[in-house]
């Protein structure tokens, strides 16, 4: 009897120990706090901004809402901390925020030296060119000698110079710091071209060119001259939490691929397709493996939507930005959004 008690105690102790080893310290802290602290930027149209009632909305905000839905079963248990670009990495390193979702480009140095872990790419951005249609330009290769509006001291400026040098073309830079002033300069015709990340170019185009000009009078040229994969980041050290963030994004993409959206998710629960059954937790196992509720994908899709819905609502055709899916189409449609299978 005594032996049995000892064995049982040892077994329980082992289980407890392994249990605590599974759940990392960040995830434990988040669960204990009862909310996810999400670092966002100071306002980028379509990606993160406070609406008229002060509520945070946007593509990057949806990432945090989805993670919250996966962990807590409620997409509203998120606290948003607006961060400037100088303080965003410190805030994540020091534990002020759990997750950084503010249009941060994934690069090698940030992934390693800064001690961050980038999860799945939520938006494939890249530097492009915005020109007025009346310029009659169809390709960036025709921009020889153009006057280009650009923000100073950023990689944008360096990419621009590299591109023109590689194409053996010349350009005249007009360097302006503030985005409002850049827009004013571009729309008043001080420069022929405005270069920036293409998501920002679409926002500029939609940001109401002064009448009689209309958004349709401007086009974004097809050339994209830099890679800007935007991904949420977490700290090194808690792999389970990083997994949850990564697979939350994959789940939203996977849901779109299998046609599961916030409207039909309840009917999809009755689907006979084994993959859909696995994704939605009808066949259990996936949630347990990730350490969240089996209904996690159901909750995410029900409360936030699948990736396509989030995209269209925030930056796509359902918004005023009207950004094309482009690189962010599913792989089945010729884009880059490819989620590993949930199995």
């Amino acid at each position: 009897m005594r032996n049995f008690t000892l064995t049982a105690a040892a077994a329980v102790a082992t289980m407890l120990a392994s249990g605590s080893a599974w759940a990392g310290k960040d995830l434990d802290a988040i669960k204990a706090r009862g909310s996810l602290v999400c670092g966002v930027g100071q306002g980028t149209a379509g990606f993160m901004m406070a609406d008229s009632t002060g509520k945070w909305v946007g593509l990057d905000v949806d990432v945090c809402r989805a993670v919250s839905a996966a962990i807590f079963g409620d997409s509203e248990k998120v606290k948003y901390v607006p961060l400037s670009s100088q303080q965003r990495f410190t805030a994540l390193q020091s534990g002020e925020v759990d997750i950084l979702s503010n249009n941060t480009t994934q690069t090698l140095t940030r992934d390693t030296a800064l001690g961050l872990d980038f999860t799945a790419v939520t938006y494939y951005d890249g530097q492009g060119f915005l020109v007025p249609k009346k310029l009659g330009v169809k390709s960036a290769k025709e921009l020889n000698g153009a006057t280009v509006c650009v923000a100073p001291g950023t990689t944008t400026e360096l990419n621009l110079a590299d591109y023109f040098r590689a194409q053996k073309m010349t350009f005249k830079p007009v360097v302006i710091e503030k985005v409002d002033e850049v827009r004013a300069a571009f729309f008043s015709g001080r420069c022929d071209v405005y270069t920036n990340d293409s998501s920002s170019l679409y926002a500029t185009r939609a940001a109401n060119p002064p009448p009689p000009l209309k958004p349709e009078d401007f086009i974004v040229l097809p050339e994209i001259i830099s890679k800007e994969p935007l991904a949420p980041a977490v700290r090194h050290g808690d792999n389970q939490f990083a997994d949850i963030v990564r697979w939350t994004q994959y789940a939203m993409v996977e849901a779109e691929e299998y046609g599961i959206n916030s409207k039909n998710v309840d009917e999809m629960l009755k689907s006979e397709n084994p993959t859909i059954k696995r994704i939605l937790g009808v066949t259990p196992g996936m949630g347990k493996a990730l350490g969240v509720d089996e209904k996690w994908v159901y909750t995410i899709v029900k409360q936030v939507g699948n990736y396509g819905e989030s995209f269209e609502r925030n930056v796509g055709m359902g918004s005023v930005l009207k950004i094309e899916r482009g690189l962010n189409k599913l792989w089945t449609q010729g884009g880059l959004q490819y989620a590993p299978p949930i199995r």
Binding site: A29, A45, A50, G54, Y80, Q87, Q93, E96, N208, P212
Partner: protein, 425 residues
């Protein structure tokens, strides 16, 4: 003609073009060819600018629209302000609870207005600020938990201060009261640290809790500026006194602090507080971002106030110090009873000037992601549905800032006259 006696001459009215509105115009606007031309040119210029502005801001403006697209092609888009004003004023504070920051702002303004009346400059003011601040922060936070440790510490500090300041003038009964207060605080704190007394906190929680991360707009600007100055004021007095101290160590520390803080821009202090400080803290420990900014503002304002007060101290004739010494007063009595009352009277107008400056300087906190009034106005511009009307938003923000700062500067002017009544001939 020669028959008319002096003094009996009939009084003639002054020339018509010398009196009345016409005379005023002639004397002030058209006294010479040059002045006349200047007047005409200026009137035409002002009229031209004003008519253009009114055309844009009033006659062709849109006051009601569903989105920015409807404003396109017209004048000012005031519909944007109408849509966003609640966000601009109160930031991300829960929308249906906006009455809370509203009343908190009202409470703070009431405190400021009451403090501006000279008849209130006595112990009543401390009570007003205590109660008013409590109400304002209770409204903003919704719940306040006061830990036992803090209560005990306040008791110790109050008792200690009472013992020092009232040491030589209080009746034995009063002095014993201060001593008892300090003793209770000290014993309680020791008990608390050694673990004899358990953790306990006084919870006042009538409303839902709203963390500082959600605060924004006017309350943030007012709190940062007002409490920045309220706490910087005693700090500045200590620094100013320390700078004039005879003890080289204290003097050196104070001079070093003041010169260091005044030698760097506020923005670098804020960035230090928000970017560097978290790296020095043990991992997992974070200090509220708002509190960090508030402390940075207090340190910064403290150094400036110290210099203003030093000016006041230096303006006192040496005889005042010597007379106080001759009366046999000790340093604390001399300073609190003789020196400071006179020195502070001199520096009140420049202090209000500093307050105006800090009221506007607080907008620098946007660099560390705190949404003060100017930053929420900035945020209103991000919404792509309403983007493209920066002029309207900044004009609105400028108008609100002007209302605050102009009333403060008028008050400062009024006070200058009030306080100098005694010295005027």
């Amino acid at each position: 003609m020669a028959d008319v006696l002096p003094g009996e001459r009939p009084q003639l009215a002054p020339p018509v073009d010398d009196t009345g509105p016409l005379g005023w115009v002639r004397k002030n606007l058209f006294s010479s060819w040059g002045n006349g031309i200047t007047t005409v040119v200026l009137i035409v210029a002002i009229g031209w600018i004003l008519s253009g502005f009114l055309h844009w801001a009033v006659f062709t403006a849109t006051f009601d629209a569903k989105s920015g697209a409807e404003c396109r092609g017209h004048g000012a888009c005031w519909a944007l302000i109408r849509e966003k004003y609640r966000y601009i004023f109160f930031g991300s504070f829960p929308y249906e609870q906006h009455w809370r920051p509203l009343f908190a702002v009202v409470a703070m303004l009431a405190m400021l207005i009451l403090s501006s009346d000279r008849r209130m400059w006595n112990k009543r003011l401390i009570a007003i600020w205590g109660v008013g601040s409590f109400v304002a922060f209770l409204l903003m936070f919704g719940q306040i938990h006061i830990s036992l440790g803090l209560i005990l510490f306040v008791a110790l500090a109050a008792g200690g201060l009472g013992m020092i300041l009232r040491g030589a003038i209080a009746t034995p009964g009063e002095l014993n009261g201060w001593r008892a207060l300090a003793a209770v605080g000290a014993l309680g704190l020791i008990g608390r640290i050694t673990g004899v007394i358990p953790t306990w906190s006084l919870a006042i929680a009538p409303l839902s809790y709203v963390e500082t991360g959600l605060w924004g707009g006017i309350p943030v600007t007012l709190i940062l500026a007002t409490y920045g100055l309220v706490f910087a004021f005693p700090f500045g007095i200590l620094l100013a006194l320390g700078r004039r101290s005879n003890l080289p160590l204290i003097k050196g520390l104070c001079v070093g602090f003041i010169e260091l803080i005044r030698g760097v821009p506020l923005i670098s202090l804020l960035i230090m507080a928000s970017v560097m400080l978290p790296l020095f803290l043990p991992s997992g420990m974070t200090i509220d971002k708002f509190l960090r900014a508030q402390v940075a503002v207090i340190l910064f304002a403290g150094a400036y106030i110290a210099e203003i007060i030093r000016g006041g101290l230096q303006s006192l004739p040496k005889g005042q110090f010597e007379a106080a010494d001759a009366m046999g007063l000790n340093y604390v009595q001399k300073t609190t009873l003789i020196i400071l009352p006179q020195a502070l009277r001199v520096v009140i107008p420049p202090l209000i000037n500093t307050f105006i400056g800090f009221f506007k300087d607080t907008s620098l906190v946007l660099i560390i992601g705190i949404f003060d009034f100017l930053n929420t106005a900035n945020q209103a511009l991000v919404d792509p549905n309403w983007a493209g009307f920066p002029g309207e938003v900044y004009l609105f923000a400028a108008f609100i800032y002007f209302c605050f700062c102009y009333s403060m500067s008028r008050y400062s002017k009024h006070l200058e006259i009030e306080l100098n009544k005694g010295t005027r001939r």
